[in-house]
Amino acid sequence: MVYIQSIAHISIQEPFEEKWFESPLIYKERYVRSIEPDFSEFIAPMAARRMGKILKRALATSLKTIKDTSIEKPDAIITGTGLGCIENTEKFLTAMLDNNEELLPPTYFMQSTHNTISSQIAVYLKCHSYNSTYSHRGTSFDSALLDAFIQFQLGEISSALVSGHDELTPGYFALLDKIGYWKKGEISEEILRDSQTPGALAGEASVSFMLDKNKTKNSFCEIKGIEMLYKPDKVQFKKTLASLLQSNGLNEKDIDAVIVGISGDVNNDSVYKNMHSEFFPDKPLLWYKHIFGESYSASGLGLYTAATILKNKKIPQHIVYCNNVKNINPKNILVYNHFQNKDHSLILLSSC
């Protein structure tokens, strides 16, 4: 059994808050950076000054989940990050190119590797347990969660801190803009909802989950299962979905809502819409990237959204993409994520 005990996020919605659930911040800009909290509550200002944005955010969300539970040293610390410490990477790269490989300061390089995040959390917690980092594009976070989940299954761990972290620098935003990742022009919910063009709202994501094998009164929900697939054909997808549901004593009818990564990118979105119409045509389809934006770690915010619905026992109107069903008390939610129709993940959540 795997339960989500606490969650903390720093994103383009108000940090650590659940205000987005009732009234989300709405953006017209196509590139929005995370709202930074007061870090001094978590990190000494001297130490914080030496850290890049992503590391500060990662430490803050991790320490918040620890504060909200009694788990001080989790049995595993696992991070998913598509780009890692890209701000430090760019700083070192630019300095190297501008100075023709001479007189380079080591700090940016030291804190450029993707595993800086997980390992610095471990240094901070003096935690010697399992420690790993996944960097697999839009399913980096999903990979981290899968790793934790199988270790729970094998009885190797009783708790795990699983996070997704991605920062988006102006430089990398511009590069990804060049290859069509972001919407052109002004953003609105309507534009993203009915989009016939590529590109999404660019955001950032830092989200940490404390998982535990025991349920408490504060638990958000239970993670019943997770499956990851690579370029599945229809038969493989159907088989995997059916086995995920059946192994938990469920079938399609028992799913109260499906939450997906519809982002306003026409190619991305069609995969979700096809899946919904094939397997869950009458069920509410929910989305979250119109309020949190797109990033390599956005799927972590998808899981956060689903877990928050199960904890609060209701689905807010503004995250319903289609098939609104009034007055339901959702019990089972399926979280579906894919990246470029290559890597896919299915996560099954149930209320406690």
């Binding site: 080591p106 993707h114 595993n115 390992s119 420690n131 980092t133 399913t139």
Partner: protein
Amino acid sequence: MAGQILVTGMGIITGLGVGKENTLNALLSKRSAINDLKYLQTIHKELPASEVQYSNEEMYKLLGISPDEVYTRTALMGRIALREALEESGIYKQKPGRIAFISGTTVGGMDKSEQYYKDFLTDDTKSAYIEAHDCGATTDLIAKEYKGHFDLTTTISTACSSAENAIILGANLIKTGRIDVAIVGGSECLSKFHFNGFNTLMILDKHQCRPFDKNREGLNLGEGAAFIVIESEDSVKKRGISPICKLSGYANTCDAYHQTASSPEGEGAYLAMTKALKQSGLKLQDIDYINAHGTGTGNNDETEGIAIMRVFGDNIPPVSSTKSFTGHTTSAAGSVESIISILALQNDFIPVNLNFSEKIEKLSFSPAVDMYTNKELKHVLTNSFGFGGNDSACIFSKCK
């Protein structure tokens, strides 16, 4: 539990050459691949390294890839290693059940990004390399080598222990029964970015590295790729093939001390070896050889040595660092050195530690310089440590 985790295929490319046979021959003839730079475009020509002796163009040809396709050096090397691993495992002939492909890298497509970074926004012909920059994109490119279907792919990036942690994830996935076969390892080319990065840390030796030597002055970087096919016992039986050896224990721990230095007592290394041994159920005396992380830096070799002393006490088996042959292949090191350890196991020899002359004072042991011990090798342990104290260990054993 799915029973034993068996090794059924291996593929490798490093400065020592393409393939297991070239690797083995270099180890047996004590021929190091560390030499003057030939391919990497850097001003630091005074620093030696172990480069794969093929240009990118030559690797395109070797693989039969059209020059129009976009590949990074890490992806090209990865495909060469994956091809050999797939061939040996016989996966094309006897298609197994579910297969996962798990690759480790940190540099990813940086070799191209550092070349085109200043042109990316203005030169449309380079745009495809933007999409090829990140670690996951590298795995995607390597996965194209397989003409069958991988059921799951992912990418691990724990710096220099990435490939070792790929082995661990693969083994855990097999144990849960989610997959039958995992192809695990890593790939990393030299880039100007991390060559300069390691240089700013002042841990690159201007000479051939001298792991576990009192007068060691640092590491030499290397590049390479290596993939290992691991498989459930059931799958091996079903396919009717004979395994090479088994993965009998593994562990991932964290030193939790410093971003780029190991704790004085080598706590993470100690825990990794101890946990891997415990999982294997083996006694200390059963381990016949340790392939150390042994980078050749002052800090690593002393603290790893102390950790080995703490674990093994009076039973320290022959220890060597084969980074004196291959250089430090960073994210690929875990699988490169696992394959070297398995070659040692298969051929009953100790890969020697080159360039050793004087023992480190604080250590009770010297590294192995004799290839033959008149003893059959049954169990070998290999260490792989990364920045931030991401320390892992694996034990491979002969199948009885």
